[in-house]
């Protein structure tokens, strides 16, 4: 089960990502636990599997409009759906990878898997609670969801 300090690693990662790429600060909502072992998702979700000393997953889920805006902020064409799909995977990869500065090299991350569309929910690993971190960037809401043993 994760503790508060570990949740803060991912909050720090989200803040650092958006500040670096957009020079804008994000607002972080109060993290909460998802009791149902399932978390609601946005239009696109980038999922990173975690293995090694810790097991579980990290995913970042966001609406299409926010991702189009982010692609434009990065200097590209926001109407290109391939880039919109790609960028959510890169956000998830960067936040998860940056967590190794705290968790160490045995915090192994997978390549991102991107889920498009809006399924009702994504199941998190069985018997684990997921921390949902609400993030507000540029008036858009996205969520970083962390589920670790």
């Amino acid at each position: 089960m994760m503790n508060e300090k570990e949740v803060n690693v991912f909050i720090k990662g989200a803040k650092n990502y958006f500040k670096t790429v957009s020079q804008l600060d994000v607002e972080i909502g109060t993290p909460y636990l998802v009791n149902s072992r399932e978390a609601a998702v946005g239009d696109y979700t980038g999922i990173i599997g975690i293995s090694g000393e810790r097991k579980g997953c990290v995913f970042v889920t966001a609406p299409t409009a926010m991702l189009r805006h982010l692609v434009v902020t990065l200097g590209d064409d926001g109407s290109d759906n391939e880039l919109v799909r790609d960028v959510i995977g890169e956000v998830a990869n960067t936040i998860s990878g940056n967590a190794r500065s705290e968790f160490g090299p045995d915090f192994m991350i997978s390549v991102p898997v991107v889920v498009e569309g809006k399924p009702q929910m994504i199941s998190v690993p069985r018997d684990l609670m997921a921390f949902v971190i609400p993030v507000q960037w540029n008036n858009y809401s996205l969520f970083v969801v962390v589920c670790l043993e």
């Binding site: 200097g75 590209d76 890169e90 990878g97 940056n98 090299p105 991350i109």
Partner: protein
């Protein structure tokens, strides 16, 4: 000089290509994973490479070793989200000449590539 950009993310490949403002890079090639990078390295013989680490098919750690076998003088800059010191040290031990962490700024990128270009020129001059 020739630059090979290796990253499985399209948006990162485009970002590196677009933000590169240093003079002296004449040709840029792109690779989507480690296997593709080995193929492109043999084909185009780049002097400078930017290398992601977490990639499908062949990851960046293995790829750095493979590229060093093809050209021991190749200048590899690792650009990765893996921010722990051990990973950076391992990349350098394998032969990489520099490491920058994602997310990166245009300034971070250009500073690191400028340094690599200087080193590459010194090797060519020998």
């Amino acid at each position: 000089m020739k630059l090979l950009i290796v990253d499985d993310s399209l948006i990162i490949r485009k970002q590196i290509e677009r933000e590169l403002k240093v003079s002296g890079i004449d040709e840029i090639y792109l690779a989507v994973n480690g296997l593709d990078a080995v193929k492109k390295c043999k084909q185009y013989m780049p002097e400078i490479v930017t290398m992601d680490l977490t990639m499908p098919e062949m990851d960046g750690v293995v790829c750095v070793k493979e590229l060093m076998k093809i050209n021991p003088d190749i200048m590899i800059l690792v650009i990765s989200a893996l921010s722990d010191k051990a990973t950076a040290i391992q990349a350098i031990k394998n032969g990489a000449r520099g490491f920058i962490c994602k997310p990166f700024t245009e300034e971070d990128l250009n500073k690191a590539i400028t340094k690599l270009l200087e080193d590459a020129r010194k090797i060519i001059a020998k």
